[in-house]
């Protein structure tokens, strides 16, 4: 009669926020007070604790709202959360490649890492090999010219110490 199934996505969000609030509150307790402040100063812990409380209350309200919703109203999975629940392997590979790029850039160097990972990612996204390689190469040259040459930003050269 009354649909009592809840939106798993909504409840999981509430749990995540509650967990985060508890962690923040726990860490805030250990924030040292160096004593350079003043008796009237609420201290460095006050704001983080207050915000943890706000997040805790917010997640509590979220739990309550989820429990009140009826089944038909709860099916509001966004396209993204639907995508997450039934993630295509290609999307997960792209995500993994992105993380490898971010981590690998300081080890392999910006140019080599971008050339390799960028080409593979473009290919996975349906771009031809020729265009992927030429586009990535163009981007690497462009970024080097702009940031390294013009703005004197030393891009990561990695453990191999490559010149580019």
């Amino acid at each position: 009669m009354s649909g009592s199934s809840e939106n798993p996505s909504g409840r999981s969000f509430a749990w995540v926020m509650l967990g985060f609030a508890v962690v923040v509150a726990g860490l805030s307790v250990y924030i040292p007070d160096n004593g350079f402040g003043d008796a009237a100063d609420p201290g460095p812990k006050a704001l983080p604790l207050a915000l943890a409380l706000v997040l805790g209350i917010g997640s509590g309200i979220e739990f309550w709202k989820q429990s009140r919703l009826r089944g038909a109203q709860r099916g509001e999975n966004s396209p993204i959360s639907s995508g997450l629940l039934q993630a295509k392997p290609r999307a997960l590979v792209l995500l993994a490649l992105s993380l490898c790029y971010v981590i690998g850039i300081s080890w392999v160097g910006f140019s080599l890492c971008t050339l390799i990972v960028g080409t593979i990612m473009m290919r996975l996204l349906g771009v031809s090999w020729k265009l992927s390689l030429s586009a990535t190469l163009t981007l690497v040259v462009l970024v080097n010219m702009l940031f390294r040459t013009l703005f004197h930003v030393p891009l990561p050269s990695g453990v191999f110490g490559l010149p580019v």
């Binding site: 007070d33 983080p48 966004s78």
Partner: protein, 502 residues
């Protein structure tokens, strides 16, 4: 003096500097401050001081506008001041109206800048005197007012908007506490002692999360593909839109100039405040965040107006309104222009030049801005896969470039994942950015104020400007609710219903 500005020796470097500003502003990770800092040494080689001044002023205004270009087309704010423009500009871009949105943006930036310059010329000393009456207590309420916008920009989900703002303020506490010197949430990492950088956080939340969304949605319809016909913008349509929203342009420009005149409150705060105010007072408030034109007009008018406003305390008292003006003040001193109360009497010619340059820059902004929009639009006609990977690469480099720190890339990646997850839960990201920007201002001024008053909160409410700010805060929340309870005319009711039915 005015005629001298049109000589080729002045005009040439001036326009080139503005084009440089467009380029820097449109590149995520490069800020307007960086653009000005890079142009200042070049300007010293110019034989004529007017040329140097024109280059510096020109680059600052164009960089602020240009940040709206990637914000609209790619959802990556080029500068912090452009974050507000992503909300509706990007939505318009998804509907194939990115060119229209940016053209509107460009003209509104120009108008906002002109209004700001007008206020600068007419009432600089009076406004500067008023701005100096702001102390910790007033800044605290200003931050609260700004944060209250997070409820307004939450597209109907106030609770999640406030949670998002709370998260933003929480992330802003990472680092060394400015009042007591204690380390908060640094986990012993040296890189975290100066806090999480605003640029990597913004790039991660808006740009990287969008790339991740594209990965998971495949070739879904959303994304900023630019149809070929979008380049043919109808000027009449743009001007008609500006005329229809002239009140919003005017209000946002004045608000932006006022906020810019407050030391420490920059274009980013001005843009958000104008956006929130426009949403609150608009008849189409429900459309904000979904491609509402007022959502483009308000922040873009305000952020350029605030650049002019920042000159007010700078010229009159030598107190820079923002980081860009701080660099410019240093440059002015190299030209032997000493800011202060007597500047209008001692340097009338140079002041006149500055005013003329600032006003003409708003006009030259239009062709330079068009060039930037066309160039960017052309790039976006490449296959979607190429564009998204390019966005990722520039996001990484942009995050790294500010502090030459690989750690900032990790911050960007983390916030990319955070933004992706939160959006999947329909949590708006704009309030989080507001929280990161305004959190330090709120906490520092509250605690410093309490120290000054030895714990008494009375001073926070009994000062005249504080009372005005509290009244503004209450009225922006209460007034629309009161108006909503008034009986609607039949025609208005049917309009609202048809809007809701989309």
């Amino acid at each position: 003096m005015f005629a001298e500005l049109f000589q080729f020796s002045v005009l040439g470097p001036w326009i080139l500097a503005m084009l440089f500003g467009v380029f820097v502003g449109a590149t995520p990770g490069l800020t307007a401050t960086m653009a000005v800092a890079l142009i200042v040494p070049v300007s010293f080689y110019m034989p004529d001081p007017n040329t140097g001044l024109a280059m510096i002023i020109g680059v600052s205004f164009t960089a602020i506008f240009a940040g709206d270009i990637p914000a609209t087309f790619l959802r990556i704010p080029g500068t912090p001041a452009s974050a507000a423009a992503t909300l509706d500009g990007y939505q318009l871009s998804k509907k194939g109206r990115g060119g229209f949105a940016l053209t509107l943006d460009l003209y509104c930036s120009s108008i906002g800048g002109l209004v700001g310059v007008g206020l600068l010329i007419l009432i600089a000393p009076q406004l500067a005197g008023f701005a100096l009456r702001f102390s910790n207590f007033e800044y605290f309420w200003l931050a609260v007012f700004g944060l209250s916008m997070s409820a307004m920009v939450s597209a109907g989900n106030t609770r999640k908007g406030l949670m998002s703002a709370a998260l933003g303020v929480l992330f802003a506490t990472v680092g060394i506490d400015i009042v007591s010197g204690s380390q908060r949430f640094t986990f012993g990492q040296v890189e975290l002692m100066s806090g999480l950088g605003l640029i990597p956080v913004m790039i991660g939340l808006f740009g990287v999360s969008e790339v991740l969304r594209y990965f998971f949605q495949g070739s879904a319809t959303d994304g900023a593909s630019i149809p070929a016909e979008d380049g043919k913008m109808n000027g009449r349509t743009v001007f008609r839109s500006i005329w229809r929203h002239r009140n919003t342009v005017g209000k946002s420009s004045v608000l932006g100039a006022f906020i810019g005149s407050l030391p420490g409150a920059g274009a980013d705060i001005a843009a958000w405040a104008a956006y929130g105010l426009a949403q609150r007072t608009s008849k189409n408030s429900r459309n904000f965040g979904r491609g509402e034109i007022e959502g483009v007009v308000a922040p873009t008018s305000a952020n350029n107006a605030s650049m002019s406003g920042a000159w007010i305390p700078a010229l009159v008292f030598g107190i820079p309104g923002d980081a860009v003006t701080a660099i410019v003040l240093g440059a002015l001193m190299m030209y032997e222009i000493k800011p202060g109360p007597l500047i209008f009497e001692q340097n009338p010619e140079q002041i006149g030049s500055i005013f003329a340059i600032a006003a003409l820059t708003q006009l030259f902004l239009i062709p330079c801005g068009f060039l930037g929009i066309k160039t960017f639009g052309w790039i976006l006609r490449l296959p979607k896969g190429v564009v998204m990977v390019a966005v990722l690469i520039f996001s990484v480099v942009g995050s790294y470039a500010l502090r030459n720190s690989v750690f900032d890339i990790y911050v960007m990646a983390t916030f990319g994942l955070v933004g992706f997850y939160l959006e999947s839960q329909r949590v708006p990201l704009a309030p989080m950015v507001l929280g990161v920007i305004l959190g330090p201002m709120l906490e520092e001024n509250l605690r410093t104020g309490l120290i000054k008053t030895e714990g008494s909160l009375l001073e926070f409410v009994n000062r005249p400007i504080c009372m005005v700010l509290i009244l503004l805060l209450v009225s922006t929340f209460a007034l629309p609710r009161l108006v909503g309870r008034l009986p609607m005319k039949k025609k208005e009711r049917s309009e609202v219903v048809s809007q809701e039915n989309g």
